[in-house]
């Protein structure tokens, strides 16, 4: 058969124009649905980063009794130089684990400074403190905060740990209850967000195919006539599919335009603005452009698929 792609394309465009009411309806539907889905995806992305930032605050603290550098170590009895070395070694060991993101050393002085600041309301307490009774500590940050329990357990099983902390179970801490609760809450929020996004995407699909179905339903007579004049199924189908793609793509372009404006005036300010500055999340352009491309592609695909599905019942002989 000598059916040219040119004919189908011409047909699709002219039909798009001639059925402008239905075309506009389809384009609007696609655009609005994609805007909503796009916003949800952006919010989920930003929210995900915020949650990660919050989760990243989860750390393991290791309190080490009366040790603060070789000099003071001398006062702590036993073999001070040896214990100091053990402490260094402990830090290095932990730092070498791939799951560990950073290991910070808090000296006794730092601990005391922080204590004095915290109790500035109770000068009597501060007055009573003599010398520096606070222990030095390591703060261990993890790449994946969810591994905190495993890593804490592994730290407790390290050599020297007993000597350094005297009582590992007490002195290797990660705020167990709060952390568990935090992860429960964040997981719950993530699940709800994913659920809602999935629902929205599903709803969008239904609404878009619905609109296209209605548009094609209104043209069922036309399709019947084409059949009677001897047009094959694909000959009828192609222009409709291309028209659907055109509608989907136009809708996606509108959605992309809206999302970009929203992004410019809103989300982009978030990163630099004061409100969320402390979260300082970053959202690279690449991800955004990828999202837009995904939207455009989905728009075209949904439009085409919608037309294809809607046509089925009218193309039975």
């Amino acid at each position: 058969m000598k059916i040219s792609a040119g004919y189908f394309t011409r047909e699709a465009f002219s039909s798009f124009k001639k059925n402008i009411v239905q075309s506009i309806a389809a384009v609007t539907t696609v655009a609005l649905c994609l805007v909503i889905v796009g916003i949800i995806l952006l919010v989920m992305f930003v929210g995900g980063q915020v949650i990660r930032k919050i989760e990243d605050k989860v750390e393991i603290e290791i309190f080490m009794e009366g040790l603060d550098g070789p000099a003071q170590a001398a006062t702590a009895g036993a073999n001070p130089v040896n214990r100091w070395n053990q402490m260094e070694q402990l830090g290095n060991t932990i730092r070498s684990w791939p799951e560990v993101h950073k290991v910070d050393y808090i000296s006794k002085e730092e601990a005391l400074r922080k204590f004095k600041k915290d109790f500035s309301n109770s000068p009597l307490v501060v007055q009573q403190i003599e010398g520096n009774p606070l222990p030095a500590s390591y703060r261990v940050g993890l790449n994946n905060p969810r591994e905190v329990e495993t890593i804490a357990k592994r730290i407790k099983d390290l050599p020297y740990i007993k000597e350094l902390t005297l009582n590992p179970d007490e002195n290797v801490k990660f705020g167990q209850d709060t952390v568990r609760k935090l992860f429960q809450v964040t997981r719950w929020i993530s699940l709800a967000a994913v659920g809602f996004a999935t629902l929205l995407i599903f709803v969008s699909l239904v609404l878009i195919t619905n609109t296209i179905r209605l548009a094609i339903f209104a043209r069922r007579k036309e399709i019947g006539i084409m059949r009677l004049v001897g047009a094959s199924s694909w000959f009828i189908r192609w222009p409709f599919i291309l028209e659907g793609m055109l509608e989907g793509l136009s809708g996606a372009v509108v959605a992309i335009f809206v999302l970009t404006s929203l992004w410019r005036t809103f989300f982009a300010n978030l990163a630099t603005g004061k409100v969320f500055a402390f979260l300082s999340f970053n959202f690279d352009q690449v991800t955004f452009v990828k999202l837009l491309l995904l939207l455009a592609l989905s728009g075209a695909a949904i439009g085409a698929a919608g037309s294809f599905i809607a046509l089925r019942r009218f193309l039975k002989i």
Binding site: R227, L228, G230, S232
Partner: protein, 228 residues
């Protein structure tokens, strides 16, 4: 070319629209199908087009078994049949030109051929100055002529026409009939359902008369033949 064997058609209702019809039309024949309103003429024509299947019986058109045909083959059958529909069945979104062109696009004619042939065909039915009008900008008779033009645009071996002159004045009707006769002379089988007594009586072709779905007369060089 066209053969019906014991064909009956009963729509959802009770009364049959066609009853035990046996008809054979050979290649190149010119046949009038007459009968009162509701006697089954359109049903007859729509069966040949396989718009639907008969309740009973066998139908062969252009050498093909219409009833046991694979669905995907139906378009090819229909491309062998030009049909003027009683209600025209024009594509309302297409101009006169595009409506006729569609019948050629369907069989894969090139743009050049189409641009060449369509105006020619439309000139034959007297619509050379309505090429760019949409169906609802045409008078009833003009729409009917577009339907006629579309039916024979691709020179099909079989031409069916359901009441092709119902909306035409006697002069134009005669012109169309002369045209159909000319097409018939080039070897096309022509079958026309009509109420136009004047034309049937003057042309003296084979006449098949239906009444309440039954063939009551099949007469060479016949006349319309119903008395008032």
């Amino acid at each position: 070319m066209i053969r019906l064997k014991n064909v009956s058609k009963i729509y959802d209702g009770d009364k049959p629209a066609l009853v035990e019809v046996n008809i054979a039309v050979t290649k190149g024949e010119f046949v009038f199908l007459v009968g009162p309103s509701g006697s089954g003429k359109s049903t007859f024509i729509r069966l040949l087009l396989r718009e639907f299947l008969p309740s009973r019986g066998d139908i062969f058109v252009a050498g093909q078994d219409v009833i046991h045909m694979r669905p995907w083959k139906v378009p090819y059958l229909r491309r062998n049949i030009g049909c003027v529909f009683q209600d025209f069945k024009l594509l309302t979104n297409k101009t006169t030109f595009e409506n006729v062109a569609f019948a050629l696009e369907v069989i894969g004619r090139s743009r050049a051929t189409i641009n060449n042939q369509v105006p020619e065909v439309l000139k034959l039915v007297g619509l050379e100055d309505k090429l760019d009008s949409y169906p609802d900008e045409l008078s009833g008779g003009e729409q009917q002529r577009v339907s006629i033009a579309r039916a024979f645009a691709n020179r099909p071996p079989i031409l069916l026409a359901d009441e092709p002159t119902g909306n035409l004045d006697p002069a134009t009707s005669l012109g169309i009939m002369t045209l159909l006769q000319r097409i018939n002379r080039t070897g096309t089988t022509v079958l026309i359902a009509t109420h136009d007594r004047e034309i049937v009586d003057s042309m003296r072709k084979r006449v098949i008369a239906l009444e309440a779905g039954k063939v009551v007369r099949d007469q060479l060089k016949g006349v319309y033949g119903y008395e008032n």
